[in-house]
């Protein structure tokens, strides 16, 4: 555990970047430091590996004060990923990744082998090994940065806005990769970002800092959304707090109807049989069971359904796995007001109305605390 105890950073000109910050960063999880510019998040991160000296207070790693160790030993035990990756442009990718192992005395072959293994881990094609940084895209360079930080298998990973410099599509991919990596590796990650959505998506615990380096709230993201500590946090969280919080409620409890579903080659009897009282539409699927669209029962021609005249089915959600937010979104996207639940292969499992989703939301609120991890 990383204990930050009443830490203050004061600069010679009087600016206080971090003001009596106290945090306990739990092991084997992602803790995000988030806040507007000037809130001291990067300064705090850089104090952990002593890139910045503390003015007051202590930071201890597993009980040991970090200032009592030789600084380079400390740094070599932590991975450090920065914006723009900071790759060594004069070295090949594989040599970049092998930097810390080589520093620790590993042989060239062993270090390179480890580097190649890591490249695969972070999703980089092995053919890039002998390339130089200038030949890689921004997203690829960032992955190299992460691989480089992981090379010596440090227990702690410090990440300073690592995904801010890439475009949103690439960023989402990198975020998903990080979550997957974390599931495999279980590192203690301290992650700095100015993007509250990134914080909510990635963080197991989120520390919101305000300008001037003070802690505003330290809580799991779901709690942040449901109970912001004050007006600043609420404001920082932004609009649609309630809806975003729904990401933390699973759709597993939804009662999916399986009756109003017909295949595209259904006969008139089957259509009649499937028409459910209280449900004005039927979902038409293809022969494989995948959704095609909605239709009123009367408008269906038995045996030869005209797929062009079907109503849009919106976006299906992964039944049982996706969140209530995804289910709600699906139901809003279809003009019928019904959402379609599918399995891993994309085949329809069942359908649910907006009203039913609404009821599920109400009972979820009334029930015990929601999951601490965003479901989807």
């Amino acid at each position: 555990m990383i204990r930050i105890d009443s830490v203050t950073k004061r600069y010679p000109d009087g600016t206080v970047a971090v003001d009596r910050l106290s945090l306990d960063i739990p092991d084997r999880s992602i803790t995000v430091l988030v806040g507007p510019s000037g809130c001291g998040k990067t300064t705090t991160l850089r104090m952990i590996n002593r890139m910045v000296d503390l003015s007051e207070g202590t930071i201890s790693l597993d009980g040991a004060d970090i200032t009592k160790q030789p600084v380079n030993t400390l740094r070599r035990s932590m991975g450090y990923v920065i914006q723009n990756a900071g790759l060594f442009q004069h070295r090949t990718i594989v040599d970049n990744i092998a930097t810390v192992p080589r520093m620790l005395g590993w042989g060239k072959e062993k270090a390179r082998a480890r580097a190649t293994e890591l490249m695969e881990r972070v999703g980089l094609d092995a053919s890039l090994a002998k390339r130089y940084p200038y030949q890689l895209s921004g997203g690829q360079q960032q992955r190299v940065g992460v691989a480089r930080a992981l090379a010596a298998d440090p227990p702690v990973l410090l990440m300073d806005e690592p995904f801010s410099a890439v475009d949103p599509v690439v960023r989402k991919g990198l975020q998903d990769e990080l979550l997957r990596l974390q599931e495999e590796l279980g590192k203690t990650i301290v992650f700095v970002t100015h993007d509250i959505d990134e914080a909510i998506k990635l963080g197991t615990m989120v520390a919101v800092l305000r300008t001037g380096g003070k802690l505003a709230q330290f809580a799991p993201p779901a709690e942040l959304l449901s109970d912001p500590a004050d007006a600043f946090v609420e404001d920082f969280l932004g609009a649609d707090r309630g809806i975003r919080r729904l990401s933390f409620f699973s759709s597993a409890g939804l009662d999916l109807k399986t009756s109003p579903i017909v295949a595209v080659d259904s006969t008139a009897e089957q259509i009649a049989e499937r028409t459910t009282p209280g449900v004005p539409y039927l979902l038409v699927t293809d022969l494989d069971g995948r959704p095609l669209g909605w239709s009123e029962p009367g408008a269906l021609t038995a045996g030869a359904v005209d797929t062009a005249r079907l109503l849009a089915y919106g976006r299906p959600f992964a039944a049982g796995k996706d969140s209530l937010r995804a289910a709600l979104d699906g139901s809003v996207l279809s003009p019928t007001g019904w959402a379609v639940g599918v399995d891993d292969t994309g085949r329809v499992v069942g359908v649910v109305s907006q009203q039913a989703v609404g009821e599920a939301i109400r009972s979820a609120h009334a029930a015990v605390r929601p999951d601490t991890k965003a479901v989807g």
Binding site: R76, G86, F88, H90, P133, L158
Partner: protein, 222 residues
């Protein structure tokens, strides 16, 4: 007047290719003077430039020293040294070194300062010590500019080493000085051509060194 004519005359005269005043001898002497001066200037300028460039401190002082050194007239310095120290290699080396240190010093400093701070920060965060950061992270990237400073100094040295002849030493300057006093323009032009040729060879040498020493990752991204 035909410069080319003189060049032709000079190089086709057989006697110019032999003996203590022959082209090979003078060339060798000139190369010797130039190499020594460059080595000494680099030994002074490189370490200081690398260190101040790495720490970022002392840039102002460096500027001042470079300006002062440049202000010293090479020729005047040569005569002064000769009068004070007498005949020998040292009175010639001093003005040459004083001449060559500023470009090496200033260019090395600026090359180091212009290195992208991101990799340096990353390296520090990884736990690299300062010496390793200087030599493994900053130097390889600053190398092209540093080489250009060395190259510039080398060319100046090659050209100025001709003054060695004024204080009775050898080198290609011998042809120029002798040619002046003997009113033998053939020699003057021949000597100048040889110096210019040597400068071109120096350029080619540095181009080759750059190709060998500069990492492809740095070369291409420039």
């Amino acid at each position: 007047m035909n410069v080319l004519h003189y060049i032709n005359l000079f190089f086709s005269d057989n006697t110019h290719w032999h003996g203590y005043d022959g082209i090979p001898t003078r060339l060798r002497e000139h190369v010797q003077y130039s190499l020594i001066a460059l080595a000494v200037a680099a030994a002074i300028g490189l370490p200081i430039g690398l260190l101040t460039g790495h720490t970022g401190r002392g840039g102002n002082t460096l500027s001042l020293i470079a300006t002062a050194a440049r202000a010293l007239p090479s020729f005047g310095l040569l005569v002064l040294m000769f009068v004070l120290i007498g005949f020998g290699l040292v009175p010639v080396m001093i003005p040459l070194v004083v001449l060559a240190v500023p470009p090496i010093l200033v260019t090395t400093y600026e090359a180091m300062r212009s290195v992208d701070p991101s990799p340096v920060d990353a390296a520090r965060g990884m736990g690299m010590n300062e010496t390793n950061i200087l030599f493994q992270v900053e130097l390889p990237v600053a190398l092209p500019l540093i080489l250009s400073g060395l190259r510039s100094a080398a060319i100046q040295i090659v050209s100025t080493a001709t003054i060695a002849a004024y204080v009775s030493l050898g080198g290609l300057g011998r042809y120029i000085i002798d040619g002046l006093y003997q009113r033998n323009y053939e020699k003057v032009v021949g000597g100048a051509t040889l110096v210019a040729g040597m400068a071109l060879v120096t350029l080619a040498l540095f181009w080759g060194i750059a190709r060998l020493a500069v990492s492809p990752g740095v070369r291409r991204s420039n």
